[in-house]
């Protein structure tokens, strides 16, 4: 032992930069990490450029507002996607109206009421598991439980989207509520407020911007979903002004059916509808980001 220790002491300690292979390996790995990022940029850039190149030509005021969706064989310039734009806004809007309040209340239960109890932990765990349930399964579910009994409607589509959004809203709101400092709650209790009052007037407003931005991201994701709408709203060629009864239509469904078509006009309409849809989701995401960045600046 002694000799080994003195032997290693006898060797001068190398304090220089890591040499040779170790340094090269580090550099190679750093380059690979950057490469991973560049690899992701390629399809993203490719899809966005194609989308704008092929979609911008299709978009016009008529395309966005004319409510008659023409058959596949018609060339571009006939009719428009107005019915689908209205459908997407209505269906997604109603889904948000259902899922956001319920999701926020669910998160309130998890963080304010459930504590560390077994039920709260189960709900918390299952809500994160539920974010992984495929959207097509939600569509089937609403078909079985609603459409079979009450028929196709925009509202059925909203139910399916709301089922998808609910766990996302719960998770993101829950994360935000957890950030609210306990001293705020204790201060309000000390003033004699009841739990509901503390939650509604102190806790929720404090976490509001985070909750709103999380909810907007969930809405953005839901707006682009096709699978849950396939068997819940069916599809029509005219604007359906009644969200609550009769088949409806939406942008993702129109993209899906036009993408499968061999006609040039249909493909052009698919690109135009895709650009419109991506614009809607991006706007929602950007608004969410602006709210988040305002929030982080305030909290600093």
């Amino acid at each position: 032992m002694m000799t080994a220790a003195s032997d290693s002491l006898a060797q001068p300690v190398d304090l220089r930069e890591p040499s040779g292979w170790r340094r090269s390996k580090n550099q190679i790995m750093t380059v690979l990490m950057w490469l991973a990022f560049v690899i992701v940029l390629i399809p993203l850039g490719f899809v966005l450029v194609t989308l704008i190149a092929k979609g911008a030509g299709a978009i016009s005021w008529q395309f966005l507002t004319n409510s008659t969706i023409p058959p596949n064989v018609m060339p571009l310039g006939n009719g428009g996607m107005g019915a689908a734009v209205v459908g997407t806004l209505e269906i997604t809007g109603f889904a948000a109206l259902l899922a956001i309040p319920l999701g926020v209340l669910g998160a309130v239960y998890l963080n304010e009421y459930g504590g560390n109890g077994i039920l709260a932990r189960l709900i918390s765990f299952m809500s994160s598991v539920m974010t992984g349930v495929p959207s097509i399964v939600m569509g089937l579910f609403i078909y079985l439980i609603w459409v079979l009994h009450f028929g196709y409607s925009g509202m059925a589509g909203s139910f399916a989207l709301a089922c998808l959004m609910l766990p996302i809203v719960i998770r993101s709101s829950y994360e935000m509520l957890r950030l609210v400092p306990d001293s705020l709650r204790q201060g309000s209790y000390a003033l004699g407020a009841s739990k509901a009052r503390v939650t509604v007037t102190v806790v929720l407003p404090t976490a509001l911007s985070g909750i709103v931005s999380g909810a907007l991201l969930a809405v953005a994701r839901a707006a682009g979903e096709t699978a849950p709408l396939l068997f819940t709203i069916l599809t029509v060629e005219q604007t359906n002004p009644n969200l609550f009864s009769g088949p409806d239509t939406a942008l993702p469904l129109q993209i899906f059916s036009n993408a499968q078509s061999a006609y040039v006009g249909a493909n052009a309409r698919a690109w135009g509808a895709a650009l419109t849809l991506v614009a809607i989701t991006f706007i929602l995401m950007i608004v969410a980001r602006i709210i988040t960045s305002l929030f982080t600046r305030n909290s600093r």
Binding site: F37, V108, G224
Partner: protein, 328 residues
């Protein structure tokens, strides 16, 4: 409010009683509302199971054990689950093999290489990938990517002719643009954001003192990642990969557009195939017959159970590593 006379303002107990009497309606109502919203998650999951089981019994009883465990699914007499299950698993595995190294590379880049205050724009770019809808990836896939890949696949297939394993995987006579591999590529792009963001969260919890310790011992950045970051975040990253795998299996529309719409079990990755989610999306509308419809709902049940299981395991890994990080 009704009994202020009884309350003795001097006695704390008395005033507390008055408060308690006043509390129930609004306060308890709100608590019940919150609890009901939380329970809704469990209710929906149970109802999904109940309704799909109910509606798929026709398939289970008509097709029987052997009918379910066969490959063919023609919507007429054959309603086997194995062919589409194969397509789901193979395309998802391809997606994972391509997507995971990229995702982990980006997660490490954003947490260990790029300074924290510059990382936000990078995160936005990755999030853009997640916001592009599935159907738009599918549209781009079928109109732009498939014809382009077709040429590349044909070149690869002719180049690999005669080489034992590679010829089986990437060769063959029926190589086409729409295939298992194309679906896998699209899935890789689509699951990268979720794997990246979950891995990033896990990696961010590695204690600074571990990393500084590694540097103090003279480690390079890569050696620090291997020695301090990786052992700490291994479990969570495995969880993130599994979440991505679950997403890939459930992905519907993009896969439906690029996988080729034919039920096959073949080792040739450049051949057309099908997946559970895609076959439901494409054929449910035409499925008017009892057993056909019931079989598609049964496949939906399969998919539901499969993704729930994968996500249960995944979340277990993620939460365990999060708990460990909090404990450390």
């Amino acid at each position: 409010v009704s009994a202020p006379t009884k309350a003795d303002p001097a006695s704390p107990a008395g005033s507390a009683n008055a408060l308690n009497r006043r509390r129930p309606l609004g306060d308890r109502g709100f608590a019940i509302l919150a609890l009901a919203s939380g329970l809704l998650v469990l209710v929906i999951l149970v109802l999904i199971t109940v309704t799909t089981v109910q509606q798929s019994t026709t398939w289970f009883s008509d097709a029987g054990f052997s009918g379910i465990f066969r490959v063919a699914f023609d919507g007429n007499t054959a309603f086997g689950a194995m062919g589409v299950l194969y397509g789901t698993v193979i395309s998802s595995v391809i997606g994972i093999i391509i997507g995971v190294p990229v995702s982990i590379g980006i997660a490490l880049l954003l947490t260990q290489v790029v300074p924290l205050r510059w990382s936000r724009p990078f995160v936005y770019v990755i999030d853009l990938l997640a916001v592009v809808p599935s159907v738009v990836w599918g549209l781009w896939g079928i109109i732009v990517l498939v014809p382009w890949l077709q040429k590349i696949y044909l070149d690869i297939a002719s180049g690999l002719k005669g080489i034992p394993v590679l010829d089986t995987l990437f060769g063959g006579a029926n190589v086409g643009g729409a295939s298992f591999f194309t679906a896998g590529l699209i899935l890789a792009i689509m699951i990268t954001p979720i794997i990246t963001s979950l891995s990033r969260e896990v990696i961010a919890t590695v204690p600074a003192i571990d990393k500084e310790g590694a540097y103090a011992l003279g480690a390079t950045r890569w050696e620090m990642i291997r020695g301090a970051v990786w052992p700490h975040s291994q479990g969570g990253v495995v969880g993130a990969i599994l979440v991505g795998f679950g997403r890939a299996m459930g992905e519907t529309i993009a896969v439906a557009l690029v996988i080729g719409d034919s039920v096959e079990v073949t080792p040739h990755l450049f051949y057309t195939g099908h997946s559970i989610a895609a076959i439901i999306a494409l054929q449910f509308g035409e499925a008017t017959g009892g057993e056909f419809r019931s079989a598609l709902i049964g496949l939906g049940l399969f998919l539901f159970v499969l993704t729930i299981l994968v996500n249960l395991v995944a979340r277990y890994f993620v939460e365990r590593s999060a708990r460990r990080a909090r404990g450390a």
